[in-house]
Every structure is written in C-alpha cells, then in structure tokens.
C-alpha cells in the first residue's frame, strides 16, 4: 500500500477518485478550493468528469441530477457556499439521493474568516435546509481519516440513499501528513432499481419530492423518519481515548478532537484521570458512547470552535446527569492542548498530583 505525503484537501479528492466517484460539480471557495483543483487535475485521467459550475446552487443541483442516475457524485465547498447548497441538499434528502458533500468549514457568520471553525455544527447535524430531514455527518480529525471517511461517506450514501456530509476545516485541509492510500475494499452491492437512466424495457420512473396531498406528505415523512431511526440505530461511530477509568471526559470532534488527545496525555502525566470521546459521526450523534459514563464520571467538557453547539447533544446524551461545561475558541482560533487542560483543572478544581 502506497504511503504518500498530501494536503488534507487533496486527500479528499484522491479518496473520491478511488471510491469510484465519476462526476464532481463544484465552485471554488477558500479553504476548500484544493479539492476541486486536485480533482480537475486527476479525475479526468480516471474517466471522470469535473465541472466548475456557475455557482454553488448550480453545483448542488448538478449533483442532484447525477445522483438520480445512480452515478457516484461529490461536491465540495466551504461554509457560505454550503449555505447556498442547502435547498438542493433538502431536495436530495427528500428524493433519497446518495451523494457526498464536503464542507471545509470556515468561521462565520457572514463572510467570516478562513480559519478553522466548527460553527456549522447545527447546520450540518439538523438537516441544514428546509424541511425535516437529516444528513449523515462524518468528522475526520487527521489525514488518514480524511481518506478513510471519504470512502465511508460514499458507501453510507449508497447504503441509505441519503446525502452524506464530510465536515472538515481549512487547517486539516492545508496540513500535509502521510496517508496510506489503501486499496478500496469491494463496495457493497446496492439496489439500483430506482435510478432514472432512460426507461429502456421498463416502466418510466419519476424522481421528485412533491407531495400532492397532506396524506401523501405525512406518509413520506414517516418513511424518512423510519430511515433516520435505522441510521441512528446502526451508524453511531466514535473513538474512545483513555476512557476506561476516566473521572472526567473531554468530548470533541475533528481538529479539536485531535488536540484533546494531547490534552489527555498531558493530564495523565499529571495523574488526572481524563479521557476523551471523539464523535466520528455527528449525525447520528453517538449517544451510545455516553451510556457507560453518564452515571460514572464527575464532569464533562466539550471542546468546540463555536459558541457551544455540540454541547447540547452531549447534555442530551448524558440526560443532564453529569455537569457539562464548554471550552471554546472562535473566529478561526485554535486552542492549544495546554489551555484545554488549564480549563479542565480550574473548572473541576483538580489539584494535579505528579506521578
């Protein structure tokens, strides 16, 4: 297996190609631009098509069209661009279209800045556009996960006929790290008896999301709800780090999830029993991860790059049985491993004991 040094955003592009993604529609926006640039250079060599659309709205609707044909398709953008895509994502969720949407998050609101942020957590995990739908959200924290989760995103999208969001940030996107370009395992066989590709020797098919009557509307909502429950049951993914004997827990995903691992190691050196739950899926939220801890740990700190968004899911997951605090940086700033530990010590009044 080949090990190479690549920029995070380029890794997403390479993983998409190796996942059998055949069409990509995008629009350049910092800090996601290297994704479309990389694919423009490499995808045609693999028989794929990259089209720089007139705008984000065009790009997502082209994805919608491509997905209707059963072709593996991806788009990539950054926060304001992903906001523009929301109508198309809602339509795609309603029709049940597999597609991968990459959000290389920047900080907002508004034009915001290019620095790393997690300010799109609510948008990503609550559907994001109009109507009551969900997208599966994966949160990589390092180069290898950018690669692995991109592949996972395509498979989940196909498996559940649902858009899947890969939520990353510009810091991961710009960092070069070694990545093992694993050969893709055989993609699971999926049912394609719904695609629209010309009614050759079969009845015509229509892929659309209009509910002519309220009764039809409710029936549709129930179908989607059942699917979302199924996904919630089967696809909660997370990583645990030094949780077994933990008295205190950090909860953090993506770039900060990774920083928190250093915090945990530093804490352990000082004799503080700190552990980490790092959600891999943000929707479905890995509430199962908290079951063993909600009657056990003394306190939890979520570390986020926003005003405190994921903390709501953590509080729900522990049914408010454990005090949950927030340590956050915003506007493109990243916390260091040390400042997180300072916050943990101060918040819980922990006197470090050298071991």
């Amino acid at each position: 297996m080949e090990k190479v040094l690549m920029k995070g955003n380029e890794i997403i592009g390479e993983a998409a190609i190796r996942s059998g993604c055949k069409v990509f529609f995008g629009y350049p926006i910092t800090p996601s631009t290297e994704v479309v640039e990389y694919l423009s250079a490499h995808m045609p060599k693999h028989g794929g098509t990259v089209l720089q659309a007139e705008d984000e709205i065009g790009a997502i609707n082209m994805c919608y069209g491509a997905a209707c044909t059963g072709t593996r398709v991806m788009t990539a953008s950054s926060s304001p661009g992903v906001s523009l895509k929301q109508e198309g994502i809602s339509y795609s969720a309603a029709v049940g279209l597999p597609m991968v949407i990459v959000n290389v998050n920047r900080c907002g609101p508004g034009l915001g800045g290019l620095g790393p942020a997690q300010s799109d957590y609510f948008q990503s995990t609550r559907g994001g556009g109009h109507g009551d739908y969900r997208t599966i959200v994966l949160a990589p924290s390092k180069a290898q996960e950018l690669y692995d989760y991109t592949m996972m995103a395509f498979d989940l999208a196909d498996k559940y006929r649902n858009p899947v969001l890969l939520l990353t940030d510009g810091f991961l996107g710009q960092t070069m790290e070694p990545v093992v370009l694993k050969e893709r395992p055989e993609a699971p066989a999926v049912d394609r008896d719904w695609v629209v590709d010309g009614a050759r020797g079969r009845e015509k098919r229509v892929l659309a999301s209009y509910s002519l009557t309220n009764e039809i509307g409710e029936a549709n909502n129930l179908v989607w709800e059942a699917k979302y429950k199924d996904i919630q049951e089967k696809e909660q993914h997370w990583e645990e780090f030094y949780t077994e004997d933990a008295e205190y827990l950090l909860v953090s995903y993506g770039i900060t999830g990774r920083i928190c691992k250093s915090t945990v190691l530093n804490a352990r050196k000082k004799g503080i029993k700190l552990g980490l739950i790092r959600p891999i899926t943000l929707w479905p939220y890995p509430e199962k991860a908290f079951l063993p801890f909600k009657d056990k740990v003394k306190g939890i700190v979520t570390v986020e790059l926003n005003t405190g968004q994921m903390i709501e899911d953590v509080k729900l997951s522990v049914e408010c049985k454990v005090p949950v605090h927030l340590y956050r940086r915003q506007g493109g700033m990243l916390p260091t491993e040390h400042e997180i530990l300072d916050y943990v010590e101060n918040t819980f009044g922990i006197a470090a004991r050298e071991v």
Binding site: A53, E54, T69, Y91, D197, G198, K204, V206
Partner: protein, 250 residues
C-alpha cells in the same frame, strides 16, 4: 379503418389537467410526438421544474426528474454529464428559467451543454395565481403589478432567446408559438431540430414557445390567442434566432 391521429407514445394515459385554453398541453404533445418520431422515448430523461410546467413529469412517458424552482437545467446537466449517451431535456416556464434560474440558462448556453431546453412563455407566474414574471409585458396587470407593470420600477420584459443566441455554445435558438395550426407545425419543427441537435452532440439547443394563460390573464381562451398575437409577438423576437452552419447541415 386506418387510424390517422392518436395519442403519442411519448405521453402517458394521464389526462392533462391544465386550465381551459392553456397551450401547455399542445406543447407537450409536440414534444411527445418528436420523441416518438426520433425513437428516443426510452433514451430520454426529462426534467420538470415547479409551476404548471412541473406537471410534465406525469404526462410524458419517458423517465423524469422533478427539480427545484429554476434548477431544471443544472439537474439536466448533472444527468447528461453522467450519462452522455442519453437525451436530456428541460421543460420550464418563463418564471422558472428567466427569473430564479437565469444563471443556469446563461451558463448552460455558454458552456454549450448538450441538452435541450424548452421554455414556455406565458408572461406570468401561472400556478401560483398570476404574479408578475420577468416576461410580463409593460402595463400588464398581475397580482403583484395590480396597477399595470411599470417598467420604470420593475424593469422591461426579458427576451431570453435573444440573450441566449448571443452565447457561443448555443447552436440552435428558436422562438415559436402554438396559437395557430401553421405556427404549431413550425413549433414542432423547431422542437424536433432542438432534439436532433442534441442527438448530434452539437451544443445547447433552446426553444421558447409563447403560450397562453387565460385563467390568470382574465381573458377567454379564444381571445387569449388573439391577445398573444397582438401583444406578445411584437415584444418577443420570433423565428429561428440562431442556427449554426453545423445545425443547418443536419
């Protein structure tokens, strides 16, 4: 007895649900006949928008995708880029393609996307109850221009085919009408050419069809046809606006 006229195979058995005097049904029949004559029904994927044109997904016998308002061409491009050997057409109203979705029309033409777009222009938003469209004529009363469209504040009607014809990638652009048997025949020829252009892979093909909306215009079906001739035809340039040499030699 020999059957000399019947329902085109390009249409399903679902009866048209349009208002009396609306010409959507005529235009859809022409497209259906063209698909049948070119033997492409099983190769074709149609894209419907929202609005009255959105019903097209029920009436055509080919595969169909329902798009968001204004996005039919972007969706169609997604299909065509994925399946280049299929035929893709969009069936859109003027409110869809010339207002909320204009950017896709312009760029589909500029890129020479190998799809066919049919615009049905009745100078109004029909399904939502007769609001002003970018194609609404000067002085015309709509629910959002109740005192008559004032061009000094709401702008002039957009003649989209003329805009599109200026773009290199558009190889066939025509503006036709279905107000008379003669014009219906011409419209069918234009629609057929627009599909043949795509089958030959030549570039973007665009046909605008003037249509009536008696319900929202507040005029009888028969008078509507006369109103279209007297008021719309002088504003919108009619005929084949652009036929490249390659298209001529088809």
């Amino acid at each position: 007895m020999e059957k000399i006229f019947g329902r085109s195979k390009g249409l399903t058995d679902v009866p048209f649900s349009f208002c009396p005097g609306c010409t959507h049904g005529t235009i859809m029949r022409l497209i259906a006949e063209v698909m049948e004559e070119l033997d492409i029904i099983e190769d074709t994927i149609g894209i419907s928008p929202v609005g009255c044109a959105g019903f097209s997904q029920n009436f055509f016998s080919c595969d169909f995708i329902g798009a968001a308002h204004g996005r039919a061409q972007a969706v169609g491009i997604g299909v065509k880029r994925s399946l280049p050997d299929r035929i893709v057409f969009t069936y859109q109203g003027d409110g869809d393609i010339a207002a909320i979705g204009t950017q896709h029309a312009i760029h589909a033409a500029a890129r020479g996307e190998k799809i066919t777009s049919i615009m049905v222009n009745n100078a109004i938003f029909g399904m939502t109850g007769g609001q002003m469209a970018p194609t609404t004529l000067e002085g015309m009363k709509t629910t959002t221009s109740p005192y008559g469209k004032d061009v000094s504040t709401t702008g002039y009607p957009i003649d989209l085919p003329r805009l599109i014809a200026n773009l290199e990638g558009a190889v066939y652009v025509a503006a036709v009408s279905v107000d008379s048997p003669k014009n219906i025949n011409q419209a069918k020829k234009a629609i057929k050419k627009a599909f043949q252009v795509q089958m030959a892979g030549l570039g973007f093909a665009f046909v605008s069809v003037l249509s009536t909306c008696p319900t929202n215009w507040g005029i009888s079906p028969v008078d509507s046809l006369q109103w279209l001739r007297e008021n719309m035809m002088p504003v919108y340039q009619m005929g084949e606006l652009k036929v490249t040499e390659e298209v001529k030699s088809l």
